[in-house]
Chain length 295, copies 2
Amino acid sequence: MIADYQKRCQQRVDRCLDTLFAPPHPQLERLYRAMRYSVMNGGKRVRPLLVYAACEALDGDRADADGAACAVELIHAYSLVHDDLPAMDDDDLRRGQPTTHKAFDEACAILAGDGLQSLAFEALAAETHNPADPALRLQMLISLARAAGPAGMVGGQAIDLGSVGLKLDRAALELMHRHKTGALIEASVRLGALASGRADTEKLAALQQYAQAVGLAFQVQDDILDVESDTATLGKHQGADIARDKPTYPALLGLDEAKRYALELRDLALAAIEPFPASAEPLRELARFVVERRS
Amino acid sequence: MIADYQKRCQQRVDRCLDTLFAPPHPQLERLYRAMRYSVMNGGKRVRPLLVYAACEALDGDRADADGAACAVELIHAYSLVHDDLPAMDDDDLRRGQPTTHKAFDEACAILAGDGLQSLAFEALAAETHNPADPALRLQMLISLARAAGPAGMVGGQAIDLGSVGLKLDRAALELMHRHKTGALIEASVRLGALASGRADTEKLAALQQYAQAVGLAFQVQDDILDVESDTATLGKHQGADIARDKPTYPALLGLDEAKRYALELRDLALAAIEPFPASAEPLRELARFVVERRS
């Protein structure tokens, strides 16, 4: 069922994203092509899903969450383009396709990323696809700017790059994840809730707890899958992340304890939204899926 | 007198900018230091000056324009950090100091630029230093996002990089400048006018005409100064830009015609705001200064 829901969210946000890349001038054709290439890549759209699911959990109208769904995906896409650059993680492939700086060039990839960040804020400030109430849109904009910026996602990438070769303890690892991926996941849930027009302080706090737990569970499970898939394919108990001396939860806690931790986080997430009505079912399904998935 | 006004605007926006770079976490210290280094560099703050001057031209309160003044400078600063990168213009020095990727490293410069862009939108969305009316702040945010993004400043840099080695005609040169520097200059004037809370369609249109003319005049005069300073120092009629095969107005029009064009643009700018009251004097002074300056 979560697979169907994911598919519907993906199609919905992709339709909306697809309208953003018409070059306003022939000389801008290549830049817009690079932005489109970086976004319209068949991504699973996990963050837009969280936006829609949080909006529906509070019985909001999906149509008011389209702007936020686009915005979080545009921020995510820009961060991948910049993270893949030679000066950063230096990756040639993403989802089996050449990364943006390989398909175009480095300068074009830097500019495409920069442009996608601006488009994200434009998508969230616009009257269409967002709640009509300007005060609500401003609250959403502030949340996204903080989550995307140096105190959030950008800071997380800086911490990650600064940790290469260091032995991180559990607190340091969690700090990095909380910034690098957690901040935008939290913002996705918060933006969806705000877009519903029915969020109050209590509900926002519950959803924040949910998002923190799910975001971390996602990361822990990723680390577990990295170990287990390597074990299956390579026949040795050594994951790619461990081999690269990247700190992981199985390396820090042991595999069994890491698995226990993932389940604990799932339960924390479910407990946080326990009082929510049936419309919160997609959020619940997602929390279960995150720790049950095999890839 | 414009020098005094410039100094006051500079001090005012610098005080406001200076508060933005306190790292929220020790692990983020280096990133915040790189952002501060990129912004607090003794810049003239021409764009903030335009924000304040436009706000005052409509008898607005400067205090409501501080957020916009910070935002346009943060966007400008981030664009310089990214433009200086090896994959872009590959500059080692800016205002006689090492560029951000030289003083720190490339990854840190990319992230500092990304973070500065987020901070710009955060500064403009916040309740402090901006007009209280949320609808007004949203209008300002949309204007800034468009001016900074792929249809504005980022697009201009893409056009510029795509023009290397090409012979641009006057229309193509103007298209590039209108995007690369013109869009943010126009947005600065527009944001200041909106911040006053007293802008109407007619006044916004007049100020846009003013900003377009001043922005272009600035560029034409830059090209002229490039030729003339080289003539003085090198004893030959060959500017650095012409030598680098970069299209310039003197190269396209001849030096005398370029000078005539700069004066024409100044007069256009002055005519656009002719009906404005005495409070528009800083805008008028600036239009004169742009074509009279010798450096």
